[in-house]
Amino acid sequence: MTKYVLGIESSCDDTSVAVVAKDGQVKAIKTVSQYEVHQAFGGVYPELASRAHLEAILPTIEQVMSDANITPSDLTAIGVTRGPGLIGSLLIGLSTAEALSMGWGVPVYGINHLRGHMRSVDLEETRTKYPAVVMLVSGGHTLVAELKDPWSYRLLGTTRDDSVGESYDKVARMLGLGMPGGPAIDAAAKRGTPVLRLPRPMKNDGYEFSFSGLKSSVARHIEKHPEVSLDDMSASFVAACMDVLMAKAERAVIECQPKSLIIVGGVAASPQLRDGMENLAQDHGVSLCLPPIKWATDNGAMIGLATWDYIEKGIKPDLIPKPNLNLETP
């Protein structure tokens, strides 16, 4: 009998639940987006997020268990995000998982959301060869790390201010391109030419990132150069972001000599990033691992797959929310 993990993700603004086998096969998944709840605020409103999670979480779990055609006795464990994330949102997932664990008699593991992202690349099919370098680029996170195996991470660098996804959203708003910003800017950038000379913050320094200066620079250019088209503005911004991301990825590949280069997170959906990383990987003879776009954003399946690592290691963190959990802590 195949056994499964029920993966629950509620760290930000998506309630996502999945049933995942040890080899990464996803038996069922359902994600309830809160996009409409937060749209009017131009960002995630934490108190509305936790309310929406509370409304969605049990119906989602019920649906996924039914879609997977399993009962609690088919579960080896429940895995639930314990951080990083919004505390109110994390608490809904954690309290729900704790009670289900008690009621069903199934063990529950608190899982690091970042480790979930790292594992998203191996959903449905094992793609990673170790050692690897991973770059996580999304609305919530921007970081680059070295992975010796699926368990041992070394953080190389993270952002000092905005994440790259956040700066995409903010610039999209400034340009009046609407939300979510990523796809809109990418589409506009494709039509445009990077005519503006925007800064490449911290491009030549180690592995840290900083995107807030770039965003301010775009704001100044909008004011100073009203003649520049939205498309060219977008192309210039995307080119600057890509330059920085590529430089950091290349530095890590040269330093760590990995077998694979993994790109995960919502921004991994960007065609410009995918193309750029493909060239980089080819130049350095590493295999590029990009998850299908559906696994790039927050989802319960990545939490489910990460849970299997915790089970194998026998590591069972507590269920106390950790809003600032770092990559190196399980």
Binding site: L54, I61, E62, I92, S95, T96, E98, A99, L100, G103
Partner: protein, 203 residues
């Protein structure tokens, strides 16, 4: 061990968990030094069941406080109670905090009960309870509530907002016996019933 009723009150910020058999409270975490106020509902419940020699499956119905009050603690309590009810295939019924507080103070004396709880400043949750029911509720500025209270001859005060130096709230949580009494007045609920916190106005 026969059927048990699970009771959880959280919105005052200091959770109280109870278990009852029929009309008798057989466990009250507020009476237990080691468990009092604990937000670790699993440990509290496991300890209680252990002491009673009962099993989780003995729980046939769940009642949980749905606020208004502390947002996070109320939602966490509801999430736990809902999921437990779901896992056991038992109903989880929501009970409004102001009904609980109103009944608590009404049974101690006569006259209406005013309930004020802090919300995001300068707002409060304001309720008036008389003749066994909540007759008024609003999310308003503290001064608006105080103005309305000034028109009343006398009242008992519950919650966590002082009106003046002379009028301090008597309590901010109902006894688990009071919660059980209110629970017993609820109509029978279907097994898939779940509780949802009162939708609070967010400033």
């Amino acid at each position: 061990m026969t059927e048990l009723t699970f009771l959880l009150q959280t919105s005052n910020g200091v959770p109280v968990m109870g278990l009852a058999q029929g009309d008798i409270v057989v466990f009250d975490s507020a009476q237990d030094e080691t468990l009092r106020g604990s937000r670790d509902y699993r440990t509290t419940l496991e300890t209680a069941l252990d002491r009673l020699g009962a099993k989780l499956e003995n729980i046939t119905e769940l009642y949980v406080d749905i606020g208004p009050g502390g947002l996070g603690v109320t939602r966490t309590g509801v999430a736990f109670a809902n999921a437990l009810g779901f896992a056991l295939g038992r109903p989880t019924v929501g009970l409004p905090a102001f009904e609980l507080l109103g009944h608590q103070l009404e049974q101690n004396g006569s006259g209406p009960v005013a309930i004020l709880r802090k919300a995001a400043r300068p707002f409060v949750h304001f309720g008036l309870f008389a003749d066994g029911k909540l007759s008024h509720y609003e999310h308003c500025e503290r001064d608006t509530a105080v103005e309305q209270l000034a028109k009343l001859d006398s009242y008992a005060l519950a919650g966590n907002v002082d009106i003046s130096q002379d009028i301090m709230p008597t309590c901010n949580v109902a006894a688990i016996e009071t919660m059980l009494k209110i629970a017993r007045k609820q109509p029978a609920a279907a097994p898939n019933t779940r509780a949802y916190p009162i939708v609070e106005t967010l400033a």
